[in-house]
Every structure is written in structure tokens, then in C-alpha cells.
Subunit: 316 residues, 2 copies
Amino acid sequence: MTNATRARAYAPATVGNVLCGFDVFGLALERPGDVVEARRCSTPGVVITAIHSDGGRLPTDPNSNVAGVAAGAVIEAAGLQNVGIALEIWKGLPLSGGMGGSAASSVASVVATNALLDGGLTMEEKILCALAGERRAAGTTHSDNIAPSLHGGIVMVRPEQPGVAISLPVPCGLAVALVHPPLELGTGDMRSAVPADVPLERAVSQWANCAALVVGLYEQDWDLIGKALVDEVAAPYRTPHVPGFDDVRAAAIEAGALGAGLSGSGPSMFALCRNISEASAAAAAMTGAFDAVGLRSADRFVSLVGSGARVIEDAP
Amino acid sequence: MTNATRARAYAPATVGNVLCGFDVFGLALERPGDVVEARRCSTPGVVITAIHSDGGRLPTDPNSNVAGVAAGAVIEAAGLQNVGIALEIWKGLPLSGGMGGSAASSVASVVATNALLDGGLTMEEKILCALAGERRAAGTTHSDNIAPSLHGGIVMVRPEQPGVAISLPVPCGLAVALVHPPLELGTGDMRSAVPADVPLERAVSQWANCAALVVGLYEQDWDLIGKALVDEVAAPYRTPHVPGFDDVRAAAIEAGALGAGLSGSGPSMFALCRNISEASAAAAAMTGAFDAVGLRSADRFVSLVGSGARVIEDAP
């Protein structure tokens, strides 16, 4: 254990699913992200002293807050007892946005707490601690946001081994447009919108596209990546909840994006692009299309596929 | 059009699905395979003059025989009319064996007929001609046996573009044990055994495994390849039709195989192995396990993952 009295970490927004890879693929942006600072305190256990930029809506009860639960999991995984941690959270991501906000808070808490305590956790342990946070506070059982927020880049997870993330190659320049309309959808509601069974034909297309996306990333084959970026499984049931979905998607493609659709369970939409300037054009076009259906002032983010969570020194 | 009067082609056995990739992945063996010879004849159309080693069970009506239909498709695709083709077929593969027998005959016919007519077909056109043969004569609509028999190696196909095959990397040494028990299952029956809907959770595992297999092949990661070689979708419904399935699979794994299961829709079973000597051991163990349940004298094949169909000069 070090003698540091505080540690601060940043964890980026993520796009879960990446269209074809429901519960399996995820990618990290460079920005925006959440910041969590962990400080030692004398009372054993975890407390949350402040949450910024959440409009007062996130719970400060550490047992109900993803960051609080995740910090507790780190203390336990590190085999420490009688340790007191106070967390302060700066939300950079919208709530219920489909941008991996709960994953980012959970991951930032794990990285900050592990750094403070010199916990020596492996990547796999960090994923499992962050997942404990997301599971308790948000009901999430898949690490397709946690893993990319922690590792960075594009990763795949396998349901059988939730702690293991496999990093995929990121073609040079690969960029993301991410647009968050002024609309909130609960992850749980959007998950239950997807039926418990998938028609075999769609399922076959889906796994063919998952395999094709991996090939496209290894081969830097933009055409194949574009063809693989199709969601046959969740989109048909989720997109009716997002006004203007078809127009926003079409606007992104027309602006040059390789593919576009819901980020995670939405309502945010993302487009994957060959470079930053295409992503900027796609983001502008997508925002315009949301405007046209009355969803004005959507937040717009443009970023290279980014590196993962890290300890930071500077203020959030 | 050349003045050749005959051309002969060889097309190898294939393993469809490769466990996780139902209707999507396939791989080619080096041997065994089927041979088709195409000769010019004066009467326009296609005739089948002889079929060897089929026990008299395959139709010689060219409109009901995969090789006959495929040759007709080549004539049409090449834009030729009034051409007469006589086919002679040597079956090296068992009927209804799950070793891609109808695909091999269809592909060999396409390659031989195209060579004879100097048809200049592209790979994509060859796949579509061979698929026309399989579709008419065997009801098959997926090219997961056709494509690997033609291209060789390990390929993936996408339902949206049946003519397009994507070759995947083949780790050096990768070998196959293929065991054909004395048992015939109709491809159609085995297909209808698979329900029209897949539980979402199994489907997610399946596409995670498809993606993981591709990563494993690119990274030459034997451990990951082994973990990905799981069939969550078809095996639960098909394996009850194959006595001893669990024992045969266990015998292969115990002999060192990375993974094992049904080849295509069975009843043949295959094991994927790191090298030929492991494949030999797996084949022996699998044959022994079939013996133990009364399926004696199973045919046993051991082969590197092979090159695809080709024109040959020598006798079959």
C-alpha cells in the first residue's frame, strides 16, 4: 500500500455492441469521459462525498452507486480490510445516454481506487470489479462497455469469461461520431425490448457479420467493415423508440460513414468513419437529422477510437 | 473456347460450420475428394455417362444430379449455346456423410467444365454455378461447403452475398481428423432438426465464438481457437441422431484436439488439431469410440487443411 492520499482517474465513453456485436463488441472514444477521485478517509468502507454534473440524479449511497460498489469490490479484491475510501465523481457523460456512462464511472472508480491503494489488480480483476459495480447499480451483466473503457480501442468479450477482453486491431484513423439526442431511455427497458429468441436466419447473418467485422479490422478493409456494420438482432426492436432513427442513420451514411446505428441500447447514435473529418461531417449531418424531427440541441462528439482509462494528475 | 476435348478436376471434402459458424464457416481437407471429367459431345446440353463408387445411388439424370446442374450453369454463365458436355464422375466421398460430398461433385464439375470450355469464370461465378447445382439437387442454399472446396483453406461466407468467400488465415500445421461412421443422415432432415428460433443467450455466445475463432486464426492462438470451437445452435438438436457423439467428441479432445463435433450436419465428426500427428491420434480415438457404440469400420481421414479444387491431369 502506498502513502498517497488521493488518486484520480479518467475513463472514456464507449460504444457498446458496435452494431453487429450485441453484448460482445465495444469500442472506446478518446473523449468525453468521467473522472473519479478516490481519497483515503479514516472510517472503513466507501463514501461518496460529491457528484458533479449529474443534476443531482445519481445516488450518493455507495451501495447504490456504480462507482461506490466498484470501489468496494477493489478493496475486497485487493485483500484489504478496514480501509476507508471517499469518492468524488465528475460526470462527463449523459445519464441513460447509451454512451457507457455507468461503465465509465465504474471503471474510473476502479482505476482510481486501485491506484490509491496500490492494489495491484490485473486487467481481468479490474474488469470484474467494474462489472460488480455496473451489475449492482445498473443490472448490467455484460462487459461490452466496461472492457473497452478500461482497455481502450475495440475489444470483444465472451459471455463465458466476462473478465477477459480481446483487443482487436484498430485501423489507422478510425474515428467515431457520437450524437446524444435530448431523450432518455432506460438500459433495462431497451434490453427487455429485445425478444428472448432470435430467428435463425437473422442470427446467422449476425454471426457472419461479427466474423466479417473482425476480418475487416485485421485487413483494414473499409468496404468489408462497412458491410459488416449491421444489427439484425436488437435494432428492429429498439429503433422505434428513437424518433428519426432512419433519417439520422441515412444522414451519417450519406456523409461518408462506414456504418451507423444505436450506440449500445441508445438513444445515442454513433457512426464509424475512416477519419476524423468524415466523423465531423457525419456528426453534423446526424445532429441536423435529429433537429429535423424536433430533437434539437443534441450533444455531438467526434473522436478517434481512443485509449482506455488512466490515472490523471490534472483537474477534471 | 479452347480445342481441348476433355478436362478433369478434383474437389476436396469440406467441413461445414466448423462448430461455431453455422452456415458461415467451412474448411477444406486435402483429401479425400471427388473427380469429375467433362468431355465435349455433339448433342447440346449435359449428359452424365457414368458415376463410379456411388453404389448406383446417385441420379444420372443431369437435371437431378448436382454435377449435371452445375455444368449447365457454367455453360449458361459462360454465355455459350449449343454446347454439349458429357460428365463422368468418380465419388471419393460418402453420400450423406456430412463431408460436403454434393459440394465436391458440384465444384469439380464447375472447374472441369469451365476449363474445358475456357469459360473464364471468376471465383464468384464459379461459386454461384456450383451453388446452383447444390441448390437444385440437394436443396442447399449456403455456400459453406462450396466455397472452401473451391478456394481451399478456411473460408467464411455471408448469407447476403453467397458468391463471395473470404479466406481466413490458416495457422501452420492446422490439421483435421474426419471420421465417417456407417450411418447416413439426410442433410434436409438434419437441417429441419434445428429450430427456427435461437435463444438470444445462445446466439450471443455463438457470435462471440465466431469472432473469437477469427481472432484465434489471425493470432495463431491455439487456446482461443479451442475455446471458440463450440456449437451452441445446431449441435443440441443434431447430436442425438449420432450414437456415441459425446464419447467420440471426448475421445478427440482427450487425444489432444482443439475442438471436435459434427462435420456439417453429420453424421461424420471432425476434430481440428495443431498438427498431423495429433490429428492421427484424434482420428484413431474417435474411430475407437464409434466402435464402442457398435458403429464399426468407420472411415477415417487425416489431412492438413488443404488447397482447393483444381484441374488434374492424372487418372482419379
